[in-house]
Symmetry: C2
DNA sequence: ATGATACTTAGCTTTATGGCTAAGCATTCG
DNA sequence: CGAATGCTTAGCCATAAAGCTAAGTATCAT
């Protein structure tokens, strides 16, 4: 959430958490390895930024999947409905 | 992905995986506790279905967050640009 | 040049995770 | 009724995760 406001240093990100810095760093590294954030070193400070494209990718994937599911559900409902109509018309 | 096609039994879902059934069950339970799927018992068979709303919630959250970030970035760019203009007009 | 700052690295400990087998319990088939 | 099927429960084990402290390194400020 914090990174949504723009870049921040490790120290700033870690500050609200009751956790030793090395422990916090591993979370940062994990997020970077997973492609959610990027980091660069500015002097002795490491700056973190959000990898916004990654979030766009996830959103697109979700959107696509849901569209597929819904299309399938629609076809199923259509089938059930048409079957009902046939039965009713007997 | 399989559940996107419609409901399926534990056995059917587990079949492609080289994993003992109890182990697989824990994955199912985890997904259910996390709200991604739902299950019901039909005779001795347990049927799993996708909790589509959950995916919609995530998609909405992502969409909202990204909109916020982009709005902020836009304002930042606008600020930088307007500052540039002032500097240029001296 | 020294001390302070902001991470980093190394190494350790505790706990959680993810897997297994064996045995149990309903439900369905013959 | 007895056997087969489809999970479930119980209990165990190996490994990975997530934390810590202590010590190290590279900047920055004086």
């Amino acid at each position: 959430m914090r990174l949504g406001n723009g870049p921040a240093s490790i120290g700033e990100l870690a500050e609200p958490f009751d956790m030793a810095l090395p422990s916090f760093m591993r979370h940062i590294q994990f997020l970077q390895n997973s492609g959610w954030i990027n980091t660069r070193k500015e002097g002795r400070v490491r700056i973190c930024t959000l990898e916004k494209q990654q979030f766009a990718i996830v959103e697109d994937w979700l959107s696509e999947q849901r569209a597929l599911w819904n299309a399938r559900t629609d076809r199923l409902e259509q089938f059930v409905t048409s079957k009902q109509n046939k039965d009713n018309s007997r």
